[in-house]
C-alpha cells in the first residue's frame, strides 16, 4: 500500500495546468465514453481543467467560452493502453529507441518513466489523432520481465508522467518461453522463482543478507514485491487458450496478483474462465491470422465474444507501425462485424468505450480518464465527424482543459509540400 500512498501524494502535488481555461462545447454529437449510444445536441463543460457537466440540455454558465459543436462530435480523449509512445524517435534507429534493453543486467526494476520524452514526434502525431492518455509499457529485452510501465498524458508540456511504475509486464507464451531459456516450462519456473525471491527480499530486515541462491538483482526482486502484494498490477503477455488458463491458475499460488492479460488472441476460447477470474484484457482486435502456433484460433470476433461472456476488454497494444491513432479504425471494424453473419462485434458505444473508458479503468483511472462525466479530467476532443469513421479527425484537442497545439513534423511537411513551386526560392525557404 506504500506505493499507492506515494502516488496519491504525487498527484496531489502535481501543479494545476497553467493555461486551463473554462470552456464549453455545445450542440455537438456527444459520446461520453461510457459505452452508451451517442447523444445528439450534447454539450460538455470544463472548468479548472475538469469536466463539470456533459449531456443534453446542459446549461452553459455565463462567462464560459463556448465552442460551437454543430455538425461535429465531442468525446473524451482516447486512451492508448500498452503502447510505446515517448520511447522512440525512429523505431529502427536504435540510438533513439528506449523500448527495451537486451544487455541490461536489470529487468523487473526497469522503469520507463525516466526515459519518456514528451517532445517525441510520435506523441505529437498521436495527440493530433485525439490520443490524450496512454499506458506506456516496457518491452522485453533479455528477460520475461520487461519492467514497469507508466501512465502518461500527451499534453504539450514537460509533465508527461501521470503515474510512474503503474504496472509490471511479464511475457509468457512462445516469446516468454524463448526469453526464459527455451520453453514455457522454464518461463513459468522463472516467474515463480522470481516471485519467491521478491517475497524474501521484501521481508528482509534492513541490513540483512539475501539467501545465496538468487537469480534476481535486489532491485528486480524489490520491484516484484509490489506485484506479489497486489499493489502493482501484473500485465501478462499471453495468447493461447491453454497459456491463459495457466496464467489464471497463478492466483491459486499468489492470491493477490492483480492480473491483466495482454494479447489473449485465443481469449474467446476461455472467455468464461477469464470472466470468472475478473481479469481484464487488452488486445489488438483485428488480428485474425494464425501468425504463430499460439494464435491458431485468431478471429476478429474475439473481442465481441469475450465481451459477451462478461470480460472487460480494451483495445490497445499499439506499437511500432501499429500507431495509437489507428485505435478508432480498430474500434470501427468491431462495429462493422455486427452486420456480418456469424460474427460477434460491438455496438458503437461499446467499441468507443474500448478505446476510452475501458482502458482507463483497466489502468486504474476509472471515472477520471476516458470519460466525459463530472469530476473527470478535461480531456476533450472535437471531431469533424463520427470519430470511428475513416473520414474523421480531431479539429480541437484539450488536455486537462488546456487547448493543445496540433502541429508536428508531419503537419510542417504537408504545409511545405502542398505545392512544388520553387520559382523564386528552394523549398528549404518555405517554412
Amino acid at each position: 500500500m506504500k506505493s499507492r500512498l506515494f502516488i496519491a501524494a504525487l498527484l496531489a502535488a502535481a501543479p494545476l495546468p497553467v493555461f486551463a481555461q473554462d470552456f464549453a462545447v455545445t450542440n455537438a454529437t456527444l459520446a461520453t465514453g461510457d459505452g452508451g449510444a451517442p447523444i445528439e445536441h450534447g454539450s460538455v463543460i470544463v472548468r479548472a481543467g475538469k469536466v463539470v457537466a456533459a449531456g443534453a440540455g446542459v446549461a452553459v454558465p455565463a462567462g464560459v467560452q463556448t465552442v460551437d459543436g454543430t455538425g461535429k462530435w465531442v468525446t473524451p480523449g482516447l486512451f492508448s493502453a500498452v503502447t510505446d509512445l515517448g520511447l522512440w524517435d525512429v523505431e529502427a534507429v536504435t540510438d533513439s529507441n528506449d523500448m527495451s534493453a537486451e544487455k541490461s543486467p536489470f529487468n523487473a526494476a526497469l522503469d520507463v518513466a525516466v526515459a519518456l520524452n514528451p517532445s517525441s514526434q510520435h506523441i505529437a502525431v498521436s495527440r493530433e489523432g485525439g490520443v490524450t492518455r496512454a499506458s506506456v509499457a516496457a518491452f522485453n529485452g533479455g528477460s520475461i520481465f520487461a519492467g514497469q510501465g507508466a501512465v502518461i498524458d500527451l499534453g504539450a508540456d514537460a509533465a508527461i508522467v501521470m503515474r510512474p511504475r503503474a504496472f509490471q509486464y511479464v511475457e509468457l507464451g512462445e516469446a516468454g518461453a524463448r526469453l526464459a531459456g527455451g520453453s514455457r516450462v522454464a518461463a513459468h519456473t522463472a516467474l515463480r522463482n522470481a516471485l519467491r525471491e521478491a517475497r524474501e527480499a521484501a521481508a528482509l530486515t534492513p541490513g540483512a543478507q539475501r539467501q545465496g541462491d538468487v537469480l534476481l538483482t535486489r532491485a528486480d526482486a524489490l520491484a516484484l514485491a509490489k506485484v506479489i502484494d497486489g499493489s502493482q498490477p501484473l500485465y501478462v503477455g499471453v495468447e493461447r487458450a491453454a497459456d491463459i488458463r495457466s496464467v489464471l491458475a497463478l492466483r491459486a499460488e499468489f492470491p493477490k496478483l492483480d492480473l491483466v492479460l495482454v494479447g489473449a488472441t485465443e481469449g474467446w476460447l476461455v472467455a468464461a474462465d477469464i470472466a470468472a477470474a475478473r481479469v481484464p484484457v487488452i488486445t489488438m482486435p483485428m488480428r485474425d491470422l494464425p501468425a504463430t502456433f499460439e494464435t491458431l484460433a485468431a478471429t476478429m470476433s474475439n473481442v465481441g465474444r469475450m465481451k459477451k461472456a462478461g470480460v472487460k476488454v480494451a483495445i490497445g497494444m499499439f506499437a511500432g507501425m501499429d500507431q495509437p491513432r489507428y485505435a478508432p479504425q480498430q474500434a470501427g471494424n468491431l462495429v462493422a462485424l455486427t452486420k456480418m453473419p456469424g460474427a460477434t462485434g460491438l455496438s458503437w458505444g461499446e467499441a468507443f468505450a474500448a478505446i476510452t473508458s475501458v482502458p482507463a479503468e483497466i489502468s486504474g483511472f476509472g471515472g477520471k480518464l476516458g470519460v466525459l462525466a463530472p469530476g473527470a479530467v478535461g480531456d476533450v476532443v472535437l471531431w469533424d465527424g463520427d470519430p470511428l469513421e475513416l473520414s474523421s479527425a480531431p479539429v480541437e484537442v484539450w488536455i486537462d482543459g488546456v487547448k493543445q497545439p496540433l502541429d508536428n513534423h508531419q503537419s510542417r511537411l504537408r504545409a511545405r509540400y502542398k505545392d512544388l513551386d520553387e520559382t523564386y526560392l528552394p523549398k528549404a525557404y518555405d517554412w
Binding site: D89, E91, F293, R414
Partner: protein
C-alpha cells in the same frame, strides 16, 4: 510488451539470415517457352446481374442505381437501371450496397512470408547476394498460407502481386496471382501477367550486406552494384546466350520491356537517382513502392509516368520513413501522379479500401478533395495497371475479367465489408453462406477451423 512490429516493412532484413544457397545457378538447358506456366482455370459461375447498387468502375466512374452484368467469367455490360438483364441471369439485389472491381494488392508477401510466420516458412528474401534477379518468388509461395483467405473475405482481394523482400538491390522476380485457392502455385498464377523485377534502394541492402562486410555498405555502393549489374546484363543481352544466366535473363527481360520493375524506395532524392539510373541503363521503373516521400516529387513521377505504391500513413519506423505524411496519396493525386495503395502486410491487405479512405480524408482536410470514384481506383485499376494486367482486370468494363466485389456498404467506410466476391465470374465468397469461403489445409482440424475471421 514484446515487439509486434512486422518485420516485412523493416525489409524483413531483421529476420534470421543464414539461408545458404547457391545464388547463381547456371543452366545450359534450352529455354522453355513458358516455364512454370499458369494452370489457373476459372471456376464455374452463373450469369449474374448485380442491380441497384452504387457502382464504382475503378476508372473514376460512378453509377447510381447501377447494373453490372457478367457471364462466362467476363463482364458483359455496366450501366444504369435502364440496362436490360438478359434471360437466364441470376439477379442480385444491391440496393443500399456498393459494387467495385476486385481489390488488387500490388505489394504482398503472402505465401513467401506466410502464417504461421515460423522460420521454416520464411522464404521471402534470398539474403545471400545483393543481386539475386535469378530467384523467382513463385518458387517460394506456399499456397496454403491462410492469409490468402483473409485477404479474400475481409479485403475483397481478387488479384495480388507477391514480391521477394527488400534485403537485396535486385530481389528477384515477383509473381502475380489470382486469389483463388489452389493445390499448386501454378494453379494460382494470373494467366498472361507479366513478370516484375523487385528492386530495393536505401537502407535495407546496405545494412544487410554492410553488416556482412561486403558491398554495398552505403547508398553509393547500392548504385555501383546496380549499375554494374545492368552493364553486365547488356553485354549478356548482346551475346550469343550460349551459357544461360538466370539472373541476366531477368535483367534482359527488363531491358527489353517485357519485365516490369517494382522498386522499393522511400526517399524522394533516392527515387530521383533511380529514375536517372533507369535512363542511363535503358529500362523503365513501373512503380516505386512504399515511397513515403513521393509527395515531394509528384511532378517528377508524373513526368516519368511512374506510379507510387504506398501505405496511407505509415511513418517513423525507420530513418528513411521519417518524412512520411498521411497526405502523400492526396498530394500525388493533386499533382497528377499515379497512386496505388498497397499493403506489404498480411493484416493491411484485408483493409486496403480503408487505408485508401484514410488517405483520402487526410487530403480533404488540407483542401485536396479526391472523389470517391477516383480513390477506389487506388486499390483496383491503378494497381492492375502497374502490375501490367490493367487490360484484363482492375475495372468493370465489358470484356474484362469478372472480378467483382459486392460490399454491404460504402467501401470507403469503416463499417463496410465485402458481402460477395467473384473471381472470373465465379462466386468465391458469400458472407451469407458459411461454406462459401476458403479454409486452407493448415487450418483443418485446428481450433477455429472455418470460423468467421
Amino acid at each position: 510488451m514484446r515487439r509486434w512490429t512486422s518485420l516485412l516493412a523493416l525489409g524483413a532484413a531483421l529476420t534470421l539470415a543464414g539461408q545458404a544457397a547457391d545464388a547463381k545457378k547456371k543452366d545450359k538447358g534450352a529455354k522453355a517457352e513458358t516455364p512454370y506456366a499458369s494452370t489457373y482455370k476459372a471456376y464455374p459461375g452463373r450469369p449474374t446481374a448485380l442491380v441497384g447498387a452504387i457502382v464504382y468502375d475503378g476508372r473514376g466512374g460512378r453509377i447510381e442505381n447501377g447494373t453490372v452484368l457478367f457471364e462466362n467469367g467476363k463482364v458483359v455490360a455496366v450501366g444504369g437501371p435502364e440496362l436490360a438483364i438478359p434471360a437466364g441471369y441470376d439477379r442480385v439485389d444491391g440496393a443500399g450496397k456498393f459494387v467495385t472491381p476486385g481489390v488488387i494488392d500490388i505489394h504482398s508477401h503472402l505465401g513467401v512470408y506466410p502464417s504461421p510466420g515460423v522460420d521454416a516458412n520464411s522464404d521471402g528474401n534470398e539474403m545471400s547476394s545483393p543481386t539475386t534477379p535469378d530467384v523467382w518468388a513463385e518458387h517460394s509461395v506456399w499456397p496454403q498460407d491462410p492469409g490468402f483467405s483473409r485477404a479474400l473475405v475481409n479485403g475483397g482481394v481478387t488479384s495480388l502481386q507477391i514480391l521477394p523482400g527488400s534485403a537485396n538491390l535486385m530481389g528477384g522476380r515477383a509473381v502475380t496471382l489470382k486469389n483463388v485457392p489452389s493445390r499448386t502455385v501454378q494453379g494460382m498464377k494470373f494467366p498472361g501477367a507479366p513478370y516484375s523485377l523487385k528492386m530495393a534502394c536505401g537502407e535495407n541492402p546496405k545494412r544487410v550486406y554492410g553488416a556482412k562486410g561486403q558491398k554495398p555498405s552505403t547508398r553509393m555502393g547500392n548504385f555501383s552494384v546496380n549499375r554494374q549489374a545492368w552493364i553486365d546484363a547488356k553485354q549478356y543481352m548482346d551475346g550469343d546466350h550460349a551459357e544461360r544466366d538466370l539472373g541476366k535473363d531477368t535483367l534482359e527481360g527488363v531491358l527489353k520491356g517485357e519485365i516490369l520493375v517494382q522498386n522499393h524506395c522511400y526517399r524522394a532524392d533516392e527515387m530521383a537517382q533511380v529514375l536517372d539510373m533507369a535512363k542511363e541503363m535503358g529500362y523503365k521503373v513501373t512503380a516505386f513502392h512504399h515511397a513515403v516521400e513521393a509527395y515531394k516529387i509528384g511532378d517528377l513521377l508524373k513526368a516519368n509516368d511512374v506510379c507510387a505504391a504506398i501505405w496511407a500513413d505509415w511513418y517513423g519506423f525507420k530513418m528513411e520513413a521519417y518524412d512520411g505524411i498521411p497526405e502523400n496519396a492526396a498530394l500525388l493525386a493533386k499533382q497528377g501522379a499515379c497512386v496505388v495503395i498497397h499493403s506489404d502486410d498480411e493484416n493491411g491487405i484485408q483493409r486496403l479500401n480503408q487505408a485508401a479512405a484514410r488517405a483520402q480524408a487526410s487530403g480533404r482536410r488540407i483542401g485536396v478533395d479526391i472523389p470517391d470514384a477516383q480513390v477506389v481506383g487506388w486499390f483496383t485499376y491503378n494497381a492492375a495497371k502497374a502490375m501490367g494486367i490493367g487490360a484484363k482486370t482492375g475495372s468493370l468494363e465489358a470484356g474484362k475479367m469478372a472480378d467483382v466485389v459486392l460490399w454491404n456498404g460504402n467501401p470507403l467506410s469503416v463499417y463496410s465489408r465485402p458481402e460477395k466476391v467473384w473471381v472470373d465470374g465465379a462466386m468465391m465468397y458469400d458472407a451469407g453462406d458459411p461454406k462459401r469461403k476458403p479454409v486452407s489445409d493448415f487450418e483443418l482440424g485446428q481450433p477455429g477451423e472455418g470460423d468467421v475471421k
